[in-house]
Amino acid sequence: MTKQQVLDLYFLDARHKLVELAAFLDRVERAAGKDDFRLQSFRQALTQLNGKKKNKVKAALLAFSDPTTTPIAKAAGKGAVGAYVGSR
């Protein structure tokens, strides 16, 4: 596809998602209390989106990922929260 075709097909959807991201940040910033590692990872991922560097989605995913390489001693639960707690 050409850039024009990509824009025709995906611009409104991407615009919608960007505005939702902005609204989420406004919402969490005006809320009371402290944030946590998830928001810090989120902001780190956002820094990967601007500029001309390629593979932005991979960089964003890496910002949320556990970078360690050894197994943990025991699984405390089953769920994932979306960001690595150790990235605090």
């Binding site: 596809m1 075709q5 097909l9 995906y10 593979n55 989605v57 991979k58 995913l61 890496l62 949320f64 990922s65 556990d66 970078p67 360690t68 390489t69 197994p71 943990i72 001693a73 025991k74 699984a75 405390a76 639960g77 089953k78 769920g79 994932a80 929260v81 979306g82 960001a83 690595y84």
Partner: protein, 266 residues
């Protein structure tokens, strides 16, 4: 347009979903053994589940002209209890000769713990001993990168495992390249909220090519869409992919991998 759904948990879906999938062009559905959303209390619960996958579910699918195949294992979410896992794994060989069993799966990791890794190694041993195909679940979200690396290390270190007989599922942009570089197949799971969207799955196809890649819905009891594969085919068409290229991804590729089992016949 005909397609194969290579990863769907139909025991969690309604009969209406079978009908919708058949109407959308599905010719076969493959069901890996997975977590039921709660922990089973004994190996007997798994025995019943394996009977459901090999006896009952094929009959439900057949009512809509769909072939049903399955994979057997203890999933990684219940793998922290190694004793339970050993007892469940001991049950599996008696089911392997059943006509719809394609291999061992979906094995893998969830939280990347030592016990999960031990149970993964036990099930890789089971697959190697019985010369079975392997379908691997990779962890969710922040655990996926580390888990994928650990899983690939286990598989690469076992000289009996032929990479072309392994599919690593739920890949995303940060894990797909390492899987393909190992010579294994990679599965992209199309989820509304996590894993890949249709648009991102097609991005991966356009970036890495169409060899050794498939797409699946992994529909289950959670937020998921049993028609995710045909919807992604439609998205490919919108992007200008020709019909033969679409059919290769949604029908030809899964068929090529699955027929290695010797049982996958349409």
């Amino acid at each position: 347009m005909r397609y194969i759904e290579p990863h769907a948990h139909m025991v969690s879906r309604t009969t209406d979903d079978y009908e919708r999938m058949a109407l959308a062009g599905c010719e076969a559905v493959c069901e890996p053994a997975f977590w039921a959303g709660f922990d089973r209390s004994s190996p007997a619960g798994f025995y019943d589940y394996f009977c459901q996958l090999t006896e009952h579910e094929p009959k439900r699918a057949a009512k809509f002209g769909l072939k049903h195949f399955c994979w057997l294992c203890i999933n990684s979410k219940e793998a922290e209890d190694v004793k339970l896992a050993e007892e469940v794994i001991a049950l599996i060989p008696q089911f392997l000769n059943r006509p719809n069993v394609l291999g061992i799966g979906e094995i893998g990791l969830n939280k990347n713990s030592r016990n999960e890794l031990r149970v993964l190694e036990m099930q890789v041993e089971l697959a190697a001993t019985h010369e079975q195909l392997i379908l691997v679940h990779t962890p969710h979200l922040e655990d996926k990168l580390k888990g994928t690396r650990l899983i690939l290390d286990v598989l690469k270190n076992d000289q009996r495992i032929r990479p072309e007989r392994v599919i690593i599922d739920h890949v995303e942009e940060h894990t797909v390249e390492m899987v393909l570089d190992c010579g294994m197949w990679a599965g992209m799971t199309l989820y509304p909220e996590t894993k890949c969207t249709p648009a991102r799955a097609i991005d991966i196809l356009e970036t890495f090519g169409q060899e050794r890649l498939w797409m699946n819905s992994a529909c289950d009891w959670g937020v998921s869409d049993p028609l995710a594969v045909p919807k992604t085919a439609l998205e490919m068409k919108k992007r200008g992919h020709v019909a033969s290229a679409i059919e290769k991804v949604i029908f030809g590729n899964p068929k090529s991998f699955l027929k290695q089992s010797g049982k996958f016949k349409l």
